[in-house]
Assembly symmetry: C2
Homo-oligomer: 156 residues x 2
Amino acid sequence: MAEGDSGNPEYEYKYEYKQVIVVRTDLAMGKGKLAAQAAHAAVSALKEAEKMRPDWALKWLSEGQPKIVTKVGGLEELLRRYELARSLGLPATLIVDRGLTQLEPGTITCAGIGPAPVNEVDKVTGDLKLLRCRGRERPARWRPTAGAPPPIELRR
Amino acid sequence: MAEGDSGNPEYEYKYEYKQVIVVRTDLAMGKGKLAAQAAHAAVSALKEAEKMRPDWALKWLSEGQPKIVTKVGGLEELLRRYELARSLGLPATLIVDRGLTQLEPGTITCAGIGPAPVNEVDKVTGDLKLLRCRGRERPARWRPTAGAPPPIELRR
């Protein structure tokens, strides 16, 4: 099993496949907009994986679809990560907002990379920081999310 | 074609299927956490749809996977919406955070409802408000996102 993202054993969670969503922090996206763009990236990159490497997609889903959300400072850095992922043969998609609301039409907001083996994804995004909140939106009990287990679906 | 979510023609965008992600606002989730949970809900509810109604899933994807992120004030309201969706035969999943970081283990954070026909989803979430940002995180150019076209994937 590959190691999780954190060296802190308290947050250690082991999985073999992951997806990373890379978000631009230089855009004025509200929480809802950002969540929708990230969700779009997750679905799109999964669909890409299901075409390119259905075995990766299935294994990732069976592990509970571990995913983390990281940040880059701008478009150039986002494109660089995306191109690197593609050059390594990883499923990756760029998400373009159609504008009309908060952003200019055609704004590239984020990228979905993977699901793919953890060590492969880390070649592309391993050095990126997690997206956190800031200012007064920062929760009082804030602690790092890297290496935490992915959320689960409730069976009712 | 079903109508979009907004009565404002400037933001009108017509599609037949949609997915709604319903998020609790009473939890101290940072932006990154919220984005990851929403992405998890989007993928899980899509997987549910692919089992229950693969035709809905395919049509939704072909329309560009329109999705919106809405809010509820707490767990009870979230569960009520989820149960209503299930009782109507719609794909729906609840997302449970495993804790360790910002939230107590087992916290139900959000739900994914659909993809499903717009009029069916609206029976469950049509009256919910969009999740927006607040306070100083509110972008200067804030305008409503309802009825806006979904983001697109960039083909490179």
